[in-house]
Amino acid sequence: MRYVRMFLLQFQEIMVQRARSFVWFLLSLLNPLLLLIFWSGVYQQKHAFLSDWSISTVTSYYLLLIIASSLLIVHIEETVAIIDIREGGLVKHLTRPFSYFWLMFISELPWRIFQGGLGVFVFLLFSLLFKSYVQLTHDPVTLALSVLIIIFAYMISFIFKMILGLSAFWFTDFWGLQQLVEVTILSFAGFLMPLEFYPKLIEQIANALPFSYIIYYPIIAIQGKLPLPHLFQVLGIQLMWILVFAVIYKYLWRKGIEKFVGVGQ
């Protein structure tokens, strides 16, 4: 029950900071739109860029990217690293009967839902205005599995960012690391363009990293570009990443708390 209250409290906070929330949303809106403009120009010249990527498919990709980046990219690492670890705010969490992990989870979720909601709004607006350009799957099984993929994607995103936040236990250079990670995610999650467009080698690297499973695969799943066996494969790999990160998180948390309490911050 208390988790529900916390959830609602965060929503209130979002209302208070509505202007700020809106600016964050604009950020996730701008780059995909910019790239969409780029690609529509490219498609004027070459009518079929890659075998099964028409201008509609590309447009849907970037529109869904707006939703994906607002909904699935978690921004908790700064709070964890700076406010809780660096500035010692963690102390008050340690004495409470809540799990820090789930506390952070509940406080981040409303923001993601709010921003994701705005993304959905933009998507629907666009679909109404330009019906021919939007491409989504209609198959209910694919849809259901895609929803699961989205949920798993969120989990990977969240746990990974928590781990990144925990790095502040050991690193003073948190910002440098954080920027490095941010650019890596931008490069390999499918923010720039569909991973299929990359040169083969880079596409392989992207598939080996977890980031593509946060953004790229959920998008193409919901576009219906993945046949059933592939969907299950994606789910399997996502589950693997969730388990790997969960184990890493638990370990780092234990070690980190030892150090944190030991130093007496």
Partner: protein, 260 residues
């Protein structure tokens, strides 16, 4: 005025001493700058990997545009960005009061107080890449002067735009993330203006000042300059700068009427 020159030299000095005092911060900034610099160049390489020409620009020229962007944004980040990031704190924490009490132009001090020497790495990398892309070509003095001069006007335009938008923080002090927004929207200037014009005239008009910033100086080195290329940027730069001063004075008037 000579006093302002002396003040700025002292600020350069202070910032350098600060850098030496906090080397960890400097390392962080160098990593950030390098990483973003590399990303902007690699991303344009990937985006244009399968096309040889777009929007009337060859692939070589589009990449050249991004490298020029690196130089300009490097200069911008070195001398201005940190000040814009600091801006919301000035309003929120009442630093603005301390500033207004001093016999110094507030816009000058707010815009130039902090210097981020780490961003010079992007300037250097940009210059190296630009030189590499132009290898084997002979350039006239006019071209180089034009490039440098138009860069300055481009900087002025970018600065004025950022300052006008950041001034809104006086009314909406919660919008400290507006600086992030500005970072993102500045990316618009990396692409050829034709890209926007082809998509939508309204969009092109909306982004007009940004589209001029990098493309005008670049045109000098790519031999695409004509009589009508230079004037729009120069006029835009001057007009926007004057407006930024006017708008700032207006914002200050509000601040001094409404704060407690």
């Amino acid at each position: 005025m000579k006093r302002y020159v002396r003040i700025y030299i002292r600020l350069l000095h202070l910032n350098f001493s600060s850098l030496l005092a906090y080397r960890a911060n400097f390392v962080n900034s160098v990593i950030s700058s390098s990483v973003w610099g590399a990303f902007s160049i690699i991303s344009i390489l990937l985006l244009t990997s399968r096309t040889s020409s777009l929007f009337g620009w060859s692939r070589h020229d589009i990449i050249f545009l991004t490298c020029s962007y690196s130089i300009l944004i490097g200069i911008f980040h070195t001398f201005f960005s940190r000040n814009f990031e600091h801006f919301s704190r000035i309003v929120d924490l009442g630093e603005l009061d301390t500033l207004l009490i001093k016999p110094i132009d507030s816009q000058f001090f707010i815009s130039l107080r902090y210097v981020n020497y780490a961003s010079t790495i992007r300037i250097v990398v940009g210059i190296i890449l630009v030189s590499y892309l132009l290898r084997g070509e002979t350039l006239s003095i006019i071209q180089l002067l034009g490039y440098g001069g138009m860069m300055l006007f481009g900087l002025l335009t970018l600065y004025a735009l950022w300052y006008i938008i950041t001034s809104f923080t006086i009314w909406l002090s919660r919008l400290s993330n507006i600086v992030e927004f500005l970072f993102t929207i500045t990316n618009v200037s990396r692409f050829p203006p034709q890209m926007y014009r082809e998509f939508s005239w309204y969009l092109f008009l909306f982004f007009f000042p940004l589209t001029l910033i990098i493309t005008t100086p670049t045109k000098f080195l790519l031999n695409k300059v004509d009589m009508y290329s230079v004037a729009p940027l120069m006029v835009t730069a001057v007009l926007l700068f004057i407006f930024s001063r006017f708008f700032w004075k207006f914002a200050l008037r509000f601040y001094t009427s409404a704060s407690s």
